[in-house]
Symmetry: C2
Subunit: 409 residues, 2 copies
């Protein structure tokens, strides 16, 4: 009589994701050309090739004098040499004054730094020798015309923007942001700011998942909050499928009476729910569905379980849609106390990573209930305990995936 | 005769920063109350205390039945027991149906999961025992009324937003964004999109530093691009000091003729330039100044040297203004080839970190000139080689500070 109800079988996390992504054949998000100063954090839709060499001409890398390297051979602090100053091209034993970035004039093949020279009427005295090419940034040294400067599927950071500007690109073709419609379900929930009657709880999941989507470069859409009502849930999911590339629901996915969202999903169409019940802790009631070729994530109403479901499934799917293959930053840290695993389930352990004497430590955040919001705010990363581990010992080195920065103690 | 000109003395990086921050006594940025959904990435200006307990009532953590734990003692799959269903408070040998999040009724002190029960007309058959408190999220368990839920100086992530919403906070007091005015100088530079005559270069630093400021949660202001003209530079820096909390200049800071920015700064007021010439590579001509109590960063015109100057000085100063003490994410990685240090100078080595067979490797990005923009786009992190190291050997473990994500190979 034990386990009268419940998930008959939990699907392994990797199997669930693989089977889901295998059946999902999402439409391309498409691309848009936008001004370069709006592209921070966006993903390139195509290779960006240099329309010209960068630098566009041989350029001085220092402040100094352009000259012919061979004219400096044998010159040193003990055997200085005079060079005639010129304003034009450089001939034998001539030098031309240059500042960093100036074109290296015809005839010259090297630049000597200002520090090794002494200027006087119409000439300089040189106190060092240089080799050919010294202090010259050669034309095309950074990027050669026609070559790829930035690959497609690159998440643009400030330095990419600098390179694009240097290449003269005023607009860049980036992958359109995936639109993610987010629905909250649960008769016990109320909108933030409304009166809380006894037994009512403020709905927080939409704000959390909107924010997580924004961090990934997706555009969240708020589908609202509905009660545990099948018709309303069906109608809202359909609205989400109309407006967005991805739908997320939270709540109504346990196996009891309010298990309405999987029902609603399957009422809408095929294939509907592909996975329901995952061998993950927390996040076991997570469901993965496909409707109209779009991914639908049926997440728990429990904020922490829902977050883990998002991390394990929604995040990799959004990155797949965007075309980037990036991981969260990770640190190796020593676990400060033994933690139990859950044989057969993958555990997302929330830890607080801190640095002490140049080493990182991961302190598991103490949890009494899986609904405890502060476990997410006290933590700054996850340790993933594999399905085959009974636990991890104190002092063992673990890989922590960071979702928030490490604060210096 | 060697070293005729140049910086007479280079200041050690730590000494430079300490002396600068010591003399800088910046005005508080002040705070503003803004709607919670606009606070992602912002920094709390004050402790947020819970106005009520969270949860606000004893709450079921599962779908199941509330009852008195002591009534279940001795119950097992081999010795089941009947409980009478009630709609009201729970008396001896009674149970009340609950869904996750529902209030635990008076009289009950535990919840049994649905899976361990079988429901029939007016009663359930129970097949497991529970201890008091089991599956109950106690009132105040997450945060107790009056206690601090989120500390001041916390950079708000999606989970903080969820917690704030759960606490009923619709608006949050955050530190005002520091305004950073950015000026580019250099007669050889032109605005992106304009015609490039021979010898001209597109100005890229303002875009890079604007983006870096935005990533840190600061608000960039574009002061424009001026030629190597003392009066113009003075006037623009003064404009920046009027409008912003911080000023950044790029270009005109080497020791040759165009060394105009330090001159301009010192013309404006006291104390002016505090440090000029830092024992750092690249970034040696970096200057640190204070005018009207505001920090002024005199960065190189060279994009890579300027970036390192920003990283070493501007970034920690902006974080100090915001009141957060956070570090970049860092990984330990094995260096793939030997690199030279520069005795007496701190080297910011650009590396590309990748993951192979569950280990991280750091490949130094090959550089021919320090102005090469692609060294920043090929790299995803820095290794800092200390002043006292001649080099780092192949295979040695290094700490890499990541500025971009690690892409799975």
């Amino acid at each position: 009589m034990v386990r009268l109800k419940g998930f008959e079988k939990l699907t392994n996390v990797d199997d669930a994701l693989q089977s889901f992504l295998g059946q999902l054949n999402p439409k391309q998000l498409g691309s848009e050309r936008i001004p370069i100063h709006e592209t921070l954090g966006r993903v390139t839709a195509e290779d960006v090739r240099a329309k010209d060499d960068l630098p566009r001409f041989d350029r001085s890398a220092v402040d100094g004098y352009a000259l012919r390297a061979k004219d400096t051979f044998g010159v040193s602090a003990f055997k200085t040499k005079s060079f005639k100053l010129t304003k034009d091209k450089v001939n034998e034993n001539e030098a031309k004054e240059l500042w960093t970035g100036n074109p290296v004039p015809e005839g010259a093949d090297a630049v000597v730094m200002l520090e090794y020279t002494k200027k006087s009427e119409g000439k300089i005295e040189l106190a060092a020798s240089v080799t050919p090419g010294r202090n010259v940034a050669k034309r095309g040294e950074d990027v050669t015309k026609g070559n790829v400067a930035i690959l497609a599927s690159t998440r643009l950071n400030p330095h990419h923007l600098g390179l694009l500007a240097a290449l003269g690109e005023t607009n860049v073709s980036v992958v359109k942001k995936p639109k993610v419609a987010i629905l909250a379900t649960g008769s016990e929930l109320v909108e933030l700011g409304n009166k809380l009657e006894h037994g009512k709880i403020v709905e927080t999941n939409r704000l959390v998942f909107s924010s997580l989507c924004m961090e990934l470069g997706a555009e969240p859409l708020n589908l609202g909050l509905v009660k545990d009502n099948l018709e309303e849930i069906v109608s809202k999911i359909e609205e989400g499928l109309e407006q967005a590339d991805v739908v997320i629901t939270t709540g109504g996915t346990s196996v009891g009476y309010p298990d309405l969202v999987p029902l609603a999903v399957n009422k809408i169409g095929k294939p509907g729910v592909i996975v329901h019940g995952v061998a993950i802790r927390p996040g076991m009631p997570t469901g993965l569905a496909i409707l109209k070729g779009k991914p639908v994530f049926v997440l728990s109403g429990n904020p922490v379980a829902a977050t883990v479901g998002f991390e394990a499934f929604t995040r990799p799917t959004l990155l797949r849609l965007l075309g980037v293959n990036e991981t969260r930053p990770a640190v190796e840290a020593k676990l400060t106390r033994r933690v139990a695993g859950a044989l057969g389930r993958r555990v997302f352990l929330r830890v607080h990573v801190f640095e002490r004497s140049d080493s990182f430590f991961a302190e598991p955040v103490r949890v009494t209930g899986s609904g405890v919001l502060t476990t997410m705010t006290k933590a700054n990363g996850y340790v993933i305990i594999p399905e085959n581990r009974e636990g991890i010992d104190e002092g063992e080195a673990v890989r922590v995936q960071l979702f928030s920065s490490i604060v210096r103690e």
